[in-house]
Symmetry: C2
Subunit: 270 residues, 2 copies
DNA sequence: ATATCACCTCACGTAACGTTAGGCGCAATA
DNA sequence: TATTGCGCCTAACGTTACGTGAGGTGATAT
């Protein structure tokens, strides 16, 4: 005949949970074992082991102890158990997605940092924020940019993403170094050349005109303009710029200078 | 010229975090904005926004605020940042694996419950525990069972798993219903027939002899016997039986009776 | 004069335990 | 026999990252 009862430490050992946890479950009325009338010690029986397994199982499914307590009352087990499982499922799926996004961001960042030795904090944060909000960013863009253009708006393959990010890194570095130089300085021109070539390559576009085209929203439409404004605001909120205001101002100046002929071209067409 | 400073509520709105969170970060010395000397109100500047983005980014990577605080001191950012990222990565991978196991268990359980209307708690818990510890179970078995046999020991495909679990469900139901009946009762024989057919099918075995073979460990080897004993104990700890002691005793009796000729056969061979 | 606002500082509540801290009865040991 | 140690008990604080009031202040709007 097997031993019928366990002391708390025996029970803990044989089930793998801590004594404190058993105390806690008792206190919270989730698993209340009998007591030795004389000593007051907890006395666990086989039935308690079954109950504890039930608890552990539900916990494994991600339920809170409060939820579990409900399900520990007999008769209530399978009433809406499937519903509860479905709910847990969607929660877990969400968690998993978050983790996957974080994992990808980490892996991409590690890769980036392995090659580049010295990376600016601000740039790194900006990149990470961009990765973090990749999905949201695309969703926001959906309302504002044509569907066909969407595919070209963001790098698609993992490789493209990494190439793009690496290029972005050097671009930002260049901006910081060259900031203040005149727009027609050869290095500045080189920088912008590199940058737009990067975009053309990783975003699978055919020409700079195409980029310009995507960004030329219907500005006559007043309502649309508001949406575009809100869109840009939201993106700015999600993804901080790694540049100072001076750097941004300078960049805009040299970019306008660089793009000048192109924009004029566009204007002339309309 | 843009506005340079923000009140706490403005700052909260424009960054998307709560006022309370900002209070908290201030209190914990993670993000301490300047104060208005007169009113004592917090005054956030653009630099603070950059810092907050850094915080949010690191939080997104799964770091604790304590860890983040370390990285908020300048100069310490990229010292061992890659190492930290790697550490986070392995943590996240672990979490993800747990979630995946739970998700699979949930999905299989939901599937099971959709078809069977009335399922016993104990059986369900046992099944869930089995799913939960599938990996551990296999690892434990590795030390004890030959590698070639391992592949046959557990159902391999998702479909096989589901068929197996469904069969197990009806098997347990039968045991409860038939418990007490004589070993030569036709329904009992039917039950065992069904069960072993299930095993043969889902475990891809050719004969009952093969099953018997797998389980016939080297019992002469004293040391091995101990390991087998420990193995069985651990399995029992991980996966509770859904049967009462009576049911188990009865099952063992009728099984011995059913397997009788087979075992005799084995004995005679040696 | 008063109501409202935006801000402030406490300070408690949350989940699921981990971790002392102090006390009781029983057994082995010096 | 006194002490030590073991296993058990209860009580209570610590943990994380905030949410949610409670109560008070100065400035503005009615």
């Amino acid at each position: 005949m097997k031993k019928e009862t366990f002391s708390i430490s025996e029970f803990a050992k044989s089930t793998g949970v801590s004594v404190r946890t058993l105390h806690y479950y008792d206190e919270k009325k989730i698993l209340k074992p009998k007591r030795d009338k004389i000593t007051g010690h907890r006395v666990y029986e086989k039935e308690d082991m079954i109950q504890l397994h039930k608890i552990m199982t539900l916990k494994f499914l991600g339920m809170s102890l409060d939820d579990i307590k409900e399900y520990m009352q007999p008769n209530t087990f399978d009433l809406n158990f499937v519903d509860t499982l479905r709910l847990q499922e969607s929660k877990l799926i969400k968690d998993k997605e978050q983790i996957e996004i974080a994992l990808e961001a980490i892996q991409r960042t590690v890769h980036l940092l392995e090659n580049e030795k010295e990376v600016d904090h601000a740039v790194l944060v900006s990149l990470l924020a961009s990765m973090q909000n990749e999905k949201k960013q695309q969703e926001l863009s959906k309302g504002i940019i044509k569907d066909e253009a969407m595919k070209k708006m963001f790098p698609q393959t993992a490789k493209d993403k990494m190439v793009f990010e690496k290029g972005l890194l050097t671009f930002y570095k260049n901006v910081r170094e060259l900031c203040g130089k005149p727009a027609d300085h050869p290095e500045v021109k080189q920088m912008l050349d590199d940058f737009y070539r990067l975009i053309l390559e990783t975003l699978d576009m055919d020409s700079l005109e195409e980029i310009a085209d995507i960004f030329s929203f219907n500005m006559e439409d007043k309502e649309n303009e508001e949406r575009v404004e809100a869109y840009i605001q939201e993106i700015e909120r999600l993804i901080p710029t790694p540049l100072t205001e001076q750097e941004e101002a300078w960049l805009e100046k040299v970019t306008t200078n660089y793009m000048g002929p192109l924009w004029d071209d566009e204007e002339r067409k309309n």
